[in-house]
Symmetry: C2
Subunit: 265 residues, 2 copies
Amino acid sequence: MDQKLLIDTIVAKVLRNLQGGDGANKAGSPKNIVERGTSSAARISHASPRDIASYIDHTMLRPEAQTDAFDRLCEEALTYGFYSVCVNSCRVAYVARKLQGTPVKVCSVIGFPLGAMTSRVKAFEAREAISDGASELDMVINIGFLKSGDYRVVEEDIRAVRRATRANTVLKVIIETALLTQDQKIMACEIAKKAGADFVKTCTGFAGGGATVEDIALMRRVVGKNMGVKASGSVRSYEKAVSLIGAGATRIGAVSSIAIVSDQV
Amino acid sequence: MDQKLLIDTIVAKVLRNLQGGDGANKAGSPKNIVERGTSSAARISHASPRDIASYIDHTMLRPEAQTDAFDRLCEEALTYGFYSVCVNSCRVAYVARKLQGTPVKVCSVIGFPLGAMTSRVKAFEAREAISDGASELDMVINIGFLKSGDYRVVEEDIRAVRRATRANTVLKVIIETALLTQDQKIMACEIAKKAGADFVKTCTGFAGGGATVEDIALMRRVVGKNMGVKASGSVRSYEKAVSLIGAGATRIGAVSSIAIVSDQV
């Protein structure tokens, strides 16, 4: 373990323990960290570096990405054993066809990246994406209503998408940490949990900021052990990915996925 | 007329003439410039500085904007006589209620800002926004399919939204100039025109770049005199707005709308 990773892991564990919460002291062992999450979320049973690929949603959300970029995305996911490919909804049907019969799942973003369409539109997009082959949905929370203190609207927004999903659909809620205060991050996680989401997720990648060990530790503490936590935004190295997993992440969203798995020793 | 404005206006006119096109030579007079556009688009009958407010879609699209920001947006639009307020679809119903019975129109963005949801989702969002009170829709083109050369998909994407609109709905197509080559800008304008859009529009404001005199002149040349051209992205001064109008813009999208009208002499 190199120095930076060592430092990050220690920082993460100290933070989680300082922040308290249910089972914080017990939760420090690597085994417990990665076994957290719902049955749908906690597909990862051990945190060996060899398996980091299976944490990764291999992601391509740039609007200008051309069709060949999605061919590569799917091929790379198969070659490296990434958990899923994560795309905008207009590309779901295409990647689902390419990945049919493989273990790689298809994840669609919903209401992305502003989260500022109506709940009915998000729910419609969710149904479309599932019908096109997505089994995971990463929706963006309504940030403006959250910051306005309209928590009921924020919760109903997530519930609208939840109702549009199937029993086996994994629903992640992107809280967009870069735009929130500490209290708003906590509130967003509490609302997502209450509304029945499977995961909370840090960032869209379009609003600045990125996944930090501190935010992941906070999100894990708030949602407890029965939800997933996805770290996304500026995760570009093996060391960073492992430090985020150490802090409580059960999934990594990454564009630089190959760099992450190639780094590992 | 100050030096900068003079220079910009001359540059715009020379460019438009150099680029040729139907009636380019005749089109140089201020009267002709502002009289272009469809009957729905060409609400502006003269380009006097006193009337620049009536060119402006007063815009608030930041996802973190709170409810009071939309109160201010509406009040400012009424105070200064802006043409419309432009918001994300989750805020359309709210601003429409506030502006009911006033001359200020409500404009909703659609598929914003990536343009990367399915056409059915964009069409659904369009119907929702109209039902909530929007009379103008600014949709984002499918940038990835455009760059992939899948022009039929791009055209059908716009047609899907066009079919979802009412007879008096103004449909603008954001081509996101910052992500396109010169040839792609031309193709985007041609497709938008063919698909029955009322306007082409430069930028979302979320992908860098901004409205330039060169792009507006190009877009005006491609769409001809019977469509609107909306200049948006980094329009923050009266001089800039007037230079864009001089180049062929019939609408200005702005956040700094008050600075623009306050600048004018």
